[in-house]
Amino acid sequence: MRSYVSDLYTAFARVFTRAGYIVLASALALAAFLFAVWFPNFALIGEVFGTPDVALIAKLRFALSLLGGIATNFDLLSAGYTVAIAVLFGINTAMIAYLLTQKRVVAAGQNLVIGSGGMATGALGIGCAACGSLVFTTVLSSFGAASAVALLPWQGEEFGILGAALLLVSVSLMSRKIAAPGSCETPARGVGRTRDRIATPVNVKRLTFTQLDEVTKR
């Protein structure tokens, strides 16, 4: 547990000390949050913005007023995981971008899959407890999703919690990758070929020149 926290700290110190990643994470977190809060009323927002007689300031004021829905249209749990998913989505994507800049495409790809799974699962949980998950009831209504959701103990909020957990796992795994040095693992003493051992930057740091000579002579 301690090592996870330490990796998280190291990874954050590497990624989020650069303005570009902070901006990227914040922008994506905001976009995800707006999506979740406005989701039930996208059509209405479109309708209001499409009305020519209404002043732009009134349209913007209306859109902003709907953001208060996080307090009125969500219960404490759903508001909590909605904010968590938005923030974790921003962090997750910024970390993936960081890994890509380090040319660690495989690690980035793995976490892209977990993170996307988290977002997709979390998206299913968007909605309110009273009417069930809105994505379920609106999009999947033809498959009897409302009844299925009613059978779940938290009426679909499970998906939001699962989504947040998956994103958290993804961030945690990426932190390990970012915190670990970008080199081969050091083999245990006496194991592996000499060439491999001395080729790693970690070994070079640890061995004195005398020891290095001894190793190469063997």
Partner: protein
Amino acid sequence: MKPETQNKLAITVVVAAVVVAAAALIMVMRMSYPPDEARVMRLIEQQLAKQDGSAAVPALTEARVVRLIEERLPAMESAGKGISEARLKKLIDERLAGKSALPDKEFEARVEKGIVAFIEKQRRAEQERPNQLARNLPRPNKSDHIYGNPTAPVTLIEYSDFECPFCKRFHDSVKQVVDASKGQVKWVYRHFPIEQLHPVKARKEAVAAECAGELGGHDAFWKFADRFFELTPSNNRTDVDTVLPQIAREIGLDEKQFASCVASGRHDQRIDKDIRDAQTSGANGTPWSVIVSKGGKTYVLSGAQPQAAIKQLTELALQEK
């Protein structure tokens, strides 16, 4: 590659991934409620897949198009991008009568073009669906419970569930907006008990509210609703056997008559009608509201939105002529 270029490349990849994910989500959402024609097309494709031999294909496609036009799309207007319904029908009639001068391939291409244009039109209609459906809602009438000035230019029609905790919050917000509107906004309360989520209780409470209205008039209905939301914990945790008689007593109704009314089932039909109206107008959950301007323009508001949003929307509706 320079680090700056790498950064730009990485950000571009991530942004592209997000865009692709968003597009995929939109596609999934569209596919989940496709136009009937697309669904029919898929069924036909499945049927075709089961059949071995291409000879069956043109006949089945023709049969499908004939059914589409003759049975399902009598009012289809001329499709913008493709050929018109009349032309399409004529082509098919000719084809079936064996008089078609068109070669097979051209015939199929034209039919396909007509179908694609129609589906496109359906999709556009689907996007405008919430407001179109809401326009079909029954307008306020004598049987409705109206709060505020009955002649107010703006009407907020709410579909609500007495066991929904968000309806409870929304109830207070709407009341404050109507009270502050100086007679410009009226509020119509209709029932949408979600029985899958709140079995038995939500419906019984809706019936009890109607009974309050029957025995004590619209004022009693509103007193009942206000007091009910004030007293109860929502989410099917209400002790209906205690709370309902208690409220009836508090608002001055005859308890025996009230109990007899609730047990009679004479308001079931009304509740069912409200549920049907809500569903056919596009409601998926509660609270679900439609704000109607004097000129009949509708704004569909989903969920327990904050008081500020309700106020803004009613003001927009007031500006409508």
